[in-house]
Amino acid sequence: MLLALDFALILEKLVLILIVVMASLGIAMYTTFAERKVAAILQDRRGPNRAGPFGLLQPLADGLKLFFKEEIIPNLSNKFLFILGPSLAMMTAMMTSAVIPWGDKVHLFGRDIALQIANIDVGILFVFGVVSMGVYGIMIGSWASNNKYSLMGGLRAASQIISYELAMGISLIALIMVTGNLGLKEMVVQQQNGWWNIAKQPLGFLIFLVCSFAECNRTPFDLPEAENELIGGYHTEYSSMKLGFYLFAEYINMFVSSVIMATLFFGGYDCPFVDESAISQGWAAILGVSVLMAKVVAFLFFFMWVRWTIPRFRYDQLMRLGWKILIPLALFNMLVTGAVILYFNK
């Protein structure tokens, strides 16, 4: 046989990938709507309420508007890279979800299906690798636009992401020292049987949270798209759905980093005070997925809350926070964690 493959497994994974991609797109869509509603509530307004009941069709209307807008590719731009930029931004945003455990196993069609696309040995490092790829979408798009403001926005984004990646990585090292493995699934199982990691790594979580705001280019770290200095930032020259891709990728990133934070520090699909092994497998899976989603919604609300509360930093303040406060703090956290582990394992 030319290709000896387990077709049932491939089919299972394909269906799972399709569901995860569709779900993250749908959730990202409604995150844009939620953002406008939350902004409205925080500013004592009503927010979008015309399209459909309670304005629920607003994201569809926004998407349609973007599709129908004129598509402009600047004459002096690099056409291939101009199109590659938003595609890369979207792709890297979606890829992270491959290693996230969405729930425990379910038993369907005579197969045990794990609710995780790939449980690889390097789990969290994969996430880190994909996140470090995310900057290319912005850099390539900004350079290909052949516009000074775009380029400045892209360079800001790149230096910001590189700077905050360091502190993020060091805070992750402390977490890995505690858990003793890198697989996300194993981390969740560990938290199911013991304490959530937030109890063991509160400082690490705080650093991780601040860094993920910076990695997602969210306020107060949205310097790459500071409109009063850079017009629109790295996507100044973009229009129609290519602009939509950039804006949408930000919301997918937000969703994925919420899932990652929930998984790493808040027990993932573990429901507190419930013994999952006591209830039937199917119900446990449903419970797990909904608990994870509840945690994610809480994080997404926090992202928005911060955006509409805290003003933007200045660029030098942003760099100082990253290099002179967060990195030493993360190193300190790592040293303390190491010392504590050494003391208890003596």
Binding site: L3, L5, L81, D121, L125, S132, V135, M139, I162
Partner: protein
């Protein structure tokens, strides 16, 4: 020909093809982007050898960090196809000789390496998995490992000293 063989040939073609494009592309930004593709192909080879840790670290460190800085410099200096300096004949000749010597050494190394008929080792050998790699690194090779980390530290301090503004 199994799936792994097909993947191996695909990745090899990708690595060599994009490596050639790195040196032939006129636009420096394109060169950098092709170099990133090359790194990805090499990471794919590591995965075929079941060295997941090496693969992902290659992506994080080279493709994710170092190449971003390359791209940074190329974009900021606004290099483009016209800005490429014309090299004289002697330089080109020296380049050919140096490249040829490197090619000879690499060919000899592969020739000496013994059995390379099975370049793909999927699901066999778990030496590249994190646990085993960590144990080997911190037991058998702890001294070289620590020395190289001191080397990195001194390079880091050197970079800070050079980057500091004059008083």
């Amino acid at each position: 020909m199994g799936v792994t063989q097909i993947l191996f040939w695909f990745l090899s073609a990708m690595a060599i093809g994009s490596a050639i494009m790195v040196i032939t592309a006129k636009n420096p930004v394109h060169s950098v982007l092709f170099l990133i593709v090359t790194f990805f192909a090499i990471s794919g080879h590591y995965i075929l050898l079941n060295a997941q840790f090496l693969a992902i670290v290659n992506i994080i460190v080279y493709a994710g960090a170092i190449m971003v800085l390359f791209l940074f410099v190329v974009m900021l200096m606004n290099l483009n196809a016209n800005a490429e300096p014309i090299k004289n004949r002697t330089m080109q000749f020296a380049g050919i000789i140096a490249g040829g010597c490197l090619f000879l050494v690499l060919t000899a190394a592969i020739n000496k390496a013994g059995n390379v008929s099975s370049p793909v080792q999927l699901n066999v050998g778990d030496y590249g998995l994190i646990k085993n790699l960590g144990k080997t690194l911190f037991n058998d090779f702890v001294l070289p490992f620590e020395i190289s980390s001191v080397l990195f530290l001194s390079a880091m301090i050197g970079a800070v000293v050079m980057g500091k503004k004059e008083e």
